[in-house]
Symmetry: C2
Subunit: 208 residues, 2 copies
């Protein structure tokens, strides 16, 4: 089985190759050069890619466009991934308006909220729906992916409901641990951990 650290480096390789293919004339790149741009040792680059097959030629390097395409296929970002977002608040709106997600195939098709003041409003080009329409939308559009930007208290309840309707993968921004069946993927983004670890280092630096 492939280490999760390897899986998490693939998007970094993909973005770097995408930038090279878009902004530079570079046709071929070595593992040393690709790694150097990301602060990753060249041995690690070769090892990560070896889990997925043979890429490039020894001593020559990798063809930038080919490798980008191969990694894109491995990641699945060459396909379209319709998703729903629940919680049309501050963070939800920022995610909906972000143009960067379309490059990886994420397409937020519907937005849900339980606040009567928000239902019916538009965020970007999408109209906020009531949570009463969750079952109908998930079934009609065969949605597998949900983004959770509700407060932590209702998060578990919301997630239980959408799993019942068929959601298979959850991108969770609420700072709470979600209990889900084994066949459901959950990715937690806990922004507070990032800023607190920064404060921790700054605080220790100042004390010493």
């Amino acid at each position: 089985s492939i280490p999760s650290a390897t899986i998490e480096r693939l998007p970094l390789y993909y973005r770097c190759l995408d930038k090279m293919a878009t902004f530079e004339e570079t046709e071929v790149v070595s593992s040393k050069n690709l790694g150097g741009r990301l602060g990753i040792p060249s041995t690690q680059v070769r090892k990560d890619l070896s889990y997925y097959g043979e890429f490039g030629r020894r001593g020559v390097g990798y063809n930038v466009k080919d490798l980008k395409k191969s990694i894109g296929k491995i990641l699945g970002v060459d396909k379209k991934w319709p998703a729903i977002l629940i919680g049309a608040g501050n963070l939800g709106r920022a995610l909906i308006n972000y143009t960067g997600f379309s490059k990886i195939g994420l397409e937020i098709s519907d937005i849900f909220d339980n606040d009567l003041n928000k239902i019916g409003n538009r965020v970007g080009s999408i109209q906020v729906k009531s949570v009463n329409k969750l079952e109908e939308t998930i079934n009609e559009k065969d949605i597998n992916l949900a983004i959770i930007t509700v407060p932590s208290d209702p998060a578990q309840e919301v997630v239980d409901e959408i799993i019942e309707y068929g959601i298979k993968a959850i991108w969770n921004f609420s700072p709470t641990r979600l209990y889900v069946p084994d066949d459901i993927f959950v990715r937690n983004e806990d922004l507070a951990v990032g800023i607190v670890s920064l404060i921790y280092h700054l605080s220790w630096k100042i004390q010493n």
Copy 2:
């Protein structure tokens, strides 16, 4: 030296103890119970805390309020941390309006942008300033911490400038690798890595 994985678990213990102290009557908690709420083995909880001293009594457990206070002190979240935010766009506005950061002492005091249409507008209770005022603000208010929510292209330039003015720690949301001197702390939040790894797992599940 303390492993970064340990440092990153401390905010999770802190938040869990904070919830217990606020919403429950629980006075004492065992490492097994505290770990159980977070999906962390009790041996790991004890090991993490042992880096920072003796807490609780063997066989009895930890006093919830005392342990929360001790971890808060270790993390530095019992102090106030004034910060500036650069890039008053979608994500910047969501971060500014978030009430959860005040619990950990983060206080965004000033917001900057280079877009004439944004300068002078209010986000929450703060008025957006021109980037021309960065040096003056960082020096006058002795700010150490900056949040970067500009696009990736200008990010390095912005960071070079604020380090020159005395910024010591950077919370970076732009999807690009920042080159900074060794004494500067940088924490990168790369939201794309989270969603792409979710798509990766969903895609492989569907293929098999």
